[in-house]
């Protein structure tokens, strides 16, 4: 039943994202509007940006973005304006502020950590230490050879 409600609420309506009537005459402004639309989340949808979404609110937001751009606002102005109305939830790309810095740094830090660990490990590998561990018995070694022999 939940699924049905979900479908009725979110997916019904015209099966079309950007409508011909929305498209601006100025191709440069339109291109900017399209790029901005991809940075903005459709608030009632799940994981869709307003450029892809068929929901009414996405339509309204697309119109809003275009109105602002026609009024001469910069890309950042438009994003700021929409965030002031709907909260940072609408941004597809989180801001580089506060706790979000951790999100941005996670990848580079882990990569660095990976390299350091690998380097330390590789040095032990190149220095020729052979560790003992559990040795195979002769019988096992023989079978291993048979298996590995192509």
């Amino acid at each position: 039943m939940k699924k049905l409600i979900f479908i009725l609420v979110f997916l019904a309506g015209p099966a079309f994202a950007v409508l011909p009537s929305e498209v601006l005459d100025d191709p440069v402004l339109e291109a900017r509007a399209r790029a901005l639309s991809q940075e903005l989340k459709c608030v009632v949808c799940q994981g869709e940006n307003i450029d892809e979404s068929n929901a009414g609110i996405a339509h309204d937001l697309r119109i809003l973005v275009r109105e602002r751009l026609t009024d001469g606002a910069s890309d950042q102005d438009v994003l700021d304006f929409i965030v002031s109305r709907y909260g940072e939830y609408v941004l597809m790309r989180p801001t580089f502020k506060g706790g979000n810095i951790a999100l941005y740094l996670a990848g580079p830090v882990m990569l660095l950590l990976g390299f350091i660990l690998a380097f330390v490990y590789l040095r032990t590998r190149t220095s020729g230490q052979i560790a003992s561990g559990v040795e195979l018995s002769d019988d096992e070694n023989q079978r291993l050879q048979e298996i590995l022999k192509e």
């Binding site: 994202a17 940006n49 999100l103 561990g133 298996i147």
Partner: protein, 664 residues
């Protein structure tokens, strides 16, 4: 309804409960047996795995029969099926819902278990017993999950006349088979997990172990590749604007295990050939399955909002979170305690195939963690800073792409380095021709393009660098001599070598497809009047006629369109817009003319009040290369899987008992 007609449902339910009981026995007895070296107790594992599989299959068959017969006395059938539905989707409806998809999950789990019992004849007895026991403990967890929170065999007291139907978006052949492939992949990784845990308990990992584990990982990776490819292809043609990847949390849930299993495939090669990277390989096996379980958790709990979340239920979420914590946490603790027992043997220098594979592993594993971090970040931000925010495609593209670029640059060189000790300079020098060729193609693309994006040329450079690098590597393996001699030698090379060139080449082709499509796609949105041609890029498009038709369970609006180039007909296409009255839901059926170098992609929308129809036209350069590459990767995996060395490993036990070993 007579007593008799619904009997099979109760039998199926009963079989499922019995399977649960058998799984508990299989999870405990062989483990004790292996510890105490009691052969009888260990030997229970094999037959138990068979019984468990047969019982689970019986339960699954009962549910499938209920869907096929539209037995609306079952709650899941009522909620997810309809008598008007075509037979294919009645069957696909079995796993198109939460309960049924979990039953498919345990069916595949027990299938992998029983295959290990069938083909694991040459495994040491204790290892085999432990592998099957660990595998069965996963079965216990998921059978319990089904029986206690998601039972598909619940009945309705008064069966309704008809069902609610299946989401029309899911009524598509591409999507009907996408979940089973993904599940085969997710669950396939349970096999390498079970082998890893068993090895930790045994305290021993050797080349033979890696040779047993690798086919399972390879199979899981192949299924994941096909599953992800099918899902993305479906999104491309069904959602109506030709997007192929959205960084949706459910997509990420399948992509993370794919990345980790790709890393695992490569590190297992090092264990197999060089007896190094043992504990790392074990850790990857645990992580790969851990990511599979997190994927299940993300999908099933609906904790992260997503277009795919069809089961939003906290109780189920908690149960899966518990399973995830138990298996991942428990195995990581076991790893911390036991991994010191796995000492490496091989020595190698910083410039060697081993070191190159370590780099491959770092890049793939960190890339997987970046995806993971981005996927769960909204949750972390909400809990830790009380911020409601989203992480979407722009962030993922920015954070993930650098890893793939680094991987693409390093891959062809790493792939030709010899084991143990290599001369890096020499390797790079030998590849300079390939480098120049790839660069020339990129420059050509740069000059020919109309815009000034670097994305396309860079993608073309990296992709062709990989493709030509893979071919060069393969060609060098054929040794010296005349071309004809080398060609005949190529066909005698091990299948694993063929797998390597095909899979790596596939990766390069996918990269070319993605970057060309993203850089040079052309789009046109307009109101088209009948028989009035309009221009999109180099093409002329005409809407000839529009009419309505009735399908089996939908009403459709079909447009007839012509696309010409320089006056020559390129394509005659019929885009559709369907409405499914049962759900009151529209879907777009884009008309696509697939080409080698471009797809023409047409979508028809609503009729306009003042005449004409809304029409979208896309020209998508190199789009089919994305899926052609994915297909090649899967084929490469299959070639590698059929390498006779794995069959030799499987047959090794027999040859020890045979008096005369057959000569090859």
């Amino acid at each position: 309804m007579s007593m008799n007609s619904g009997m099979y449902i109760e039998l199926g339910h009963f079989a499922l409960i019995l399977a649960f009981a058998v799984a508990i026995v299989q999870a405990i007895i062989p483990l004790i047996g292996a510890h105490k070296r009691w052969p009888g107790w260990m030997a229970i594992a094999g037959p138990a795995a068979n019984v468990q599989f047969v019982l689970t299959a019986a339960a699954f068959a009962a549910l499938t029969y209920a869907f096929v017969m539209s037995d609306f006395s079952l709650k899941v059938v009522y909620a997810n099926s309809h008598t008007d539905k075509p037979m294919l989707y009645k069957v696909a409806g079995v796993w198109g819902n939460h309960e049924g998809s979990m039953l498919l999950w345990v069916l595949i789990l027990s299938l992998f278990g029983v295959m290990a019992a069938w083909f694991g004849g040459n495994l040491p007895a204790t290892l085999k017993a432990r592998v099957l026991a660990v595998q069965s403990s996963i079965s216990v967890a998921f059978l319990g999950f089904i029986l206690f929170t998601s039972n598909p065999f619940l009945r309705l007291e008064t069966p309704p006349f008809n069902g609610l139907g299946l989401n029309p978006l899911l009524q598509d052949p591409g999507l009907a088979f996408h979940p089973p492939f993904l599940y085969l992949g997710y669950v396939g990784l349970s096999m390498s997990f079970s082998f890893a845990i068993a090895a930790l308990i045994e305290g021993r990992v050797d080349a033979a172990w890696a040779r047993w584990v690798r086919p399972w990982t390879l199979a899981a990776w192949i299924f994941l590749t096909i599953g992800i490819g099918l899902g993305s292809w479906w999104a491309y043609y069904e959602l109506g604007w030709g997007g192929f990847w959205f960084w949706d949390s459910v997509e990420n849930a399948s992509f993370m295990p794919w990345l980790i299993s790709a890393a695992l495939l490569h590190s297992a090669i090092v264990v197999e050939k060089r007896e190094s990277l043992k504990s790392w390989t074990i850790l990857l096996s645990i992580l790969a399955f851990g990511f599979s379980l997190s994927g299940a958790f993300i999908v099933r709990s609906g904790i992260l909002t997503s277009v795919h979340a069809f089961a939003t239920d906290p109780e189920r979420g908690m149960y899966i979170l518990f399973i995830l914590a138990f298996f991942t946490g428990g195995s990581l603790i076991l790893f911390a305690v036991r991994s010191h027992a796995l000492e490496a043997k091989g020595i190698f220098s910083l410039a060697s195939r081993e070191a190159a594979l370590v780099l491959n592993n770092i890049l793939l594993a960190v890339a997987a963690f970046v995806v993971f971090f981005g996927t769960v970040w909204p949750l972390i931000a909400e809990i830790a800073f009380e911020r409601k925010l989203s992480v979407g495609a722009p962030w993922f593209n920015m954070a993930f792409t650098p890893f793939m670029i680094a991987l693409a640059i390093a891959l062809p060189i790493g792939a030709i380095l010899p084991w143990k000790r290599a001369k890096l300079k020499r390797a790079i020098k030998s590849m300079s021709g390939i480098f120049a060729l790839a660069l020339a193609l990129a420059v050509l693309a740069w000059v020919m393009q109309t815009g000034h994006t670097a994305f396309g040329p860079v993608g073309i450079f990296l992709g062709s660098w990989i493709v030509f690098g893979a071919i060069y590597d393969f060609w060098m393996r054929t040794g010296r001599g005349a071309v004809s001699v080398r060609l005949s030698r190529a066909f005698r090379l091990p299948r694993a070598d063929w797998g390597k060139v095909v899979a790596h080449g596939g990766l390069g082709i996918t990269m070319i497809g993605i970057s060309c499509l993203m850089a040079w796609q052309q789009e046109d949105i307009r109101v088209a009047q009948l028989n009035q041609p309009f221009t999109v890029g180099d093409y002329e498009v005409t809407l000839l006629e529009v009419h309505r038709e009735r399908g089996p369970n939908y009403i459709t609006t079909i447009g007839e369109m012509n696309v010409t180039k320089n006056g020559k007909l390129e394509a005659h296409l019929f885009p559709e817009k369907r409405i499914y009255p049962v759900q009151g839901m529209p879907t777009t059926e884009a008309a696509i003319d697939n080409g080698m170098f471009r797809d023409l992609y047409l979508v028809i929308g609503d009729e306009q009040n003042n005449g004409g129809w809304a029409v979208r036209t896309y020209i998508k350069p190199f789009a089919s290369w994305i899926w052609a590459g994915a297909l090649l990767m899967a084929i490469g995996g299959i070639l590698s899987l059929t390498d006779r060395r794995y069959r030799v490993a499987a047959g090794a036990r027999k040859s020890t008992s045979a008096i005369v070993a057959p000569a090859e």
